[in-house]
Amino acid sequence: MNSEPMRIRMTYAKLGNLRFIGHLDLQRLFERALRRTNLPLRYTQGFSPHMRINLASALPLGFIGEAEQMDFWLDQEVPLDEISNRLSKSLPAELILKHVQEIDNQKPSLQSSLLSSEFEIVLPGDLDPQVLLDQISTLLAQDSLPVQRRKKTVDLKHLILEWQLGSQALKPLLKITMKSTPLENGRPDELLALLGIDPADCVITRTKLIFSEE
């Protein structure tokens, strides 16, 4: 029990109906799914032990996640392919296990090493790509893009690292990389709002999480 735990990093996709499950519910869902695996899960010590799990970053409700990541810990070594098998069977159909790997316990947590996220946004097909391009360019040419989050104001411009407008199946496709640190977290739906586009009319996918070691 007190020996070095095995730290597992899983990469998964969250799609379909599961897009509508929020972050806290997802955490509970993972705890239950992990219990169903019957793996020797590591719990915190103390009066009310909790399962040790650690999600990289909250995915906003409605977004598809293609390569989300989570760490969990086991009390004993278990072969990775067995972990992978049991996990696949225990997850709901629209949470898809992509990959498991063992991670050194000394490495920093997912949250603290997360730098940025890549998103792909399929925009409504009735938007003119040229007009859209001009709109985004004009918007991002401004010195700052203040957006209101609860009680604080955030400069969205500062959070946008890269962007590129293309197309996919006759619809405009915006690829955008935004900061995703605990202190500075970019939300592409806020950019859409500034463009006067309802995020509900788009398909937003977080395609990649970028960590400091990569």
Partner: protein
């Protein structure tokens, strides 16, 4: 046929609170191929997902139906106000969670009606599904609407809207209904012939085949089948032995009100509390063996991943192997990081010892006991006698065994209750607090939780009037003033909130119009205290020109034809009358496992009683 535009639906889901309520996709959800299935059933629980999904009855039927290769069962719940607004605005019909098909595309809608405050929601669900509300306006083009659940022991208030009620336990009869449905449809039966055919199944009540006549004073003068081929009364169905418990339960993706593995360890109760609807309608007592319960726990945990288990029954301490069970549960689960709750314990030190057996598996929080009445006189009237020494001994044991919070359930408004009887609740609370403080000091908390008695059909108290709002308020005021500076905590229900349940639970067929009108005016989610629908109900009663007091405040004559008299629970009206008489005399009955009082159950179901002594029935 209208189909759901999924893109449009997804856009809408972006803008509603907790969209996870509407999408399904949970682990253990069953999604069958629509086209290759003969009969498609949508099970509807007309409250939000958070409340409906944990319902064990729903899980049982979902499991039974989906085990049949030719049947599929999907689920639907009442949408919360935000989604309802969006559905109506965008003209999207209510849909099932699994395949997102409109309810109107199913062959059968199985409506769960466990309590009366869901009636307006049930209408709302039908309306959102674009299904005509009135059974008389539906035909072969519409799904068959079947209802079941504990409220259906008085089906009359919902008679206008439901094609067929299943009275009693649905586990076996649901498949018979579907089988008959399939045969009749195959034989080319029209809607009328279908309903007539279904009425031949024992336990199935088709209200449209019956006629009601009323006397000048508003009481029923005659209730009879419209043709002699239909049964004059419908006896509930029971399962002689509790069937296999579902274990492949859906593990919800969002938090629900009972987010745990619920296991029914026993059905029915032998104690005979005279106010208790569940105690009468769920007879006889049947229980599961320790070995079976342990297996259900094992399989249920493995398939759901739950971290909490609740062992359910009406009176857990009365399970004949309860001590053995709690010990075995501890042995099995002590290193599995789960908690186990064992609600509905009798007032006896034994109950505390049972909880002790669970040791660290016990969830945190207080201990709960339900004396229901405090004065010996009231206790005799309701047939829940409680020796004061036993009570105090139990309370002492609770505090000595580590609990610091004790919650006590009492009822006010019981038949024959006086202010002295209400005062006795306060006195009991104070004594309990004194005992607690003496043993454990000032950290001890005692909480009095006060419910308002509502007379229920099929109980010995079914003839009694409800206490008036003024009476209930006076009793509450006495308690509210009485707890001041005592350290007792008091919680209670607003007297007006009990009215709706009082009207509907003993209502007749004429209330259908009132329910429909109240719903039209805006009544829904009636169980949610915060939205006050009372004005809608009052207006509906006044427009339909029916006096609500007739249902709530009238003492029924013992000879009166009661609206639910044609529904037989197995317990005879003769027994109920005798028990009422005993109540008036202050005579109590023992646990009926010790002595049979001939309630009628064995006459009605004796033939179904399993021969095997391994199958436990509570009757002597």
């Amino acid at each position: 046929m209208q189909t759901i535009n999924l893109n449009q639906l997804e856009k809408i889901l972006y803008h509603v609170e907790k969209p996870g309520r509407y999408v399904g996709g949970e682990h253990n959800q069953i999604l069958k191929d629509w086209e290759s299935i003969r009969t498609r059933v949508c099970l509807v629980f007309p409250d939000i997902y958070d409340i409906g999904q944990p319902n064990l009855g729903l899980a049982i039927l979902y499991d039974i139906l989906n085990q049949q290769p030719d049947i599929l069962a999907e689920r639907s719940f009442a949408p919360w106000h935000d989604l309802e607004g969006q559905l109506r605005e965008n003209k999207i019909p209510l849909f099932s969670l699994e395949s997102k098909r409109p309810l109107a595309q199913f062959d059968i809608i199985g409506l769960s009606l466990p309590y009366e405050s869901l009636y307006t929601n049930a209408l709302n669900v039908l309306d959102l599904a674009s299904i005509p509300l009135l059974a008389s306006e539906r035909g072969s083009d519409h799904p068959l609407i079947i209802a079941g659940g504990q409220a259906c022991y008085n089906p009359e208030p919902m008679a206008d809207f439901i094609d067929a009620f299943v009275i009693g336990e649905g586990e076996e009869v649901i498949l018979e209904v579907i089988q008959a449905f399939e045969h009749l449809k195959q034989a080319g039966a029209d809607h009328k012939a279908l309903l007539q055919g279904l009425s031949k199944i024992p336990g199935v009540y088709v209200p449209s085949l019956y006629l009601v006549h009323y006397a000048q004073d508003g009481t029923i003068s005659e209730f009879c089948p419209s043709d002699t081929q239909f049964p004059a009364f419908v006896t509930k169905r029971i399962v002689p032995e509790l069937p296999a418990h579902p274990t492949h339960l859906i593990a919800p993706n969002i938090e629900t009100v009972h987010d745990r593995l619920s296991i029914e360890i026993m059905r029915g109760c032998t104690r005979g509390c005279r106010f208790c609807h569940a105690g009468i309608v769920n007879r006889p007592v049947r229980q599961r063996s320790v070995a079976e319960i342990l297996q259900i726990i094992e399989d249920g945990l493995a398939s759901t991943g739950y971290e909490e288990i609740s062992l359910l029954s009406l009176s857990s301490s009365d399970h004949t192997q309860i001590l053995e069970l709690t010990r075995a549960v501890y042995d099995k689960l002590h290193d599995r990081k789960v908690t186990v709750s064992l609600p509905s314990l009798r007032i006896a030190s034994f109950s505390v010892e049972l909880m002790d057996e669970l040791r660290d598996l016990r969830p945190g929080g207080g201990f709960t006991l339900a004396p229901e009445a405090a004065s010996p006189r009231m206790q005799a009237i309701i047939n829940k006698p409680l020796d004061n020494e036993v009570f105090e001994e139990t309370v002492r044991t609770v505090f000595e065994h580590g609990w610091l919070t004790l919650k006590l359930y009492y009822m006010i408004g019981l038949p024959g209750e006086t202010m002295e009887d209400v005062q006795a609740i306060l006195d009991a609370g104070k004594r309990v607090l004194a005992i607690g403080r003496q043993l454990r000091g000032n950290r001890v908390k005692v909480h009095l939780s006060i419910g308002n008695f509502i007379p229920k059909p099929h109980t010995p108290f079914q003839w009694y009037p409800l206490n008036s709002t003024d009476e209930l308020q006076a009793k509450l005021d006495l308690l509210k003033v009485g707890v001041r500076r005592t350290g007792l905590k008091l919680s209670y229900n607003i007297p007006d909130n009990t009215l709706l349940e009082a009207w509907l639970s003993r209502g007749d067929r004429r209330l259908g119009q009132v329910i429909q009108r109240a719903w039209q005016l805006g009544a829904k989610f009636d169980a949610w205290g915060e939205n006050d629908n009372m004005p809608f109900w009052r207006q509906a009663f006044s427009e339909i020109e029916i006096k609500p007091d007739f249902y709530a405040y009238r003492e029924r004559n013992l000879d009166e034809i009661l609206p639910w008299d044609h529904i037989h629970t197995g317990v005879t009206k003769t027994f109920l009358k005798r028990d009422l008489e005993w109540s008036k005399l202050g005579k109590t009955r023992k646990d009926c496992r010790e002595q049979c009082y001939a309630c009628g159950i064995l006459d009605a179901f004796g033939k179904e009683r399993p021969v095997s002594p391994l199958v436990y029935w509570g009757c002597p």
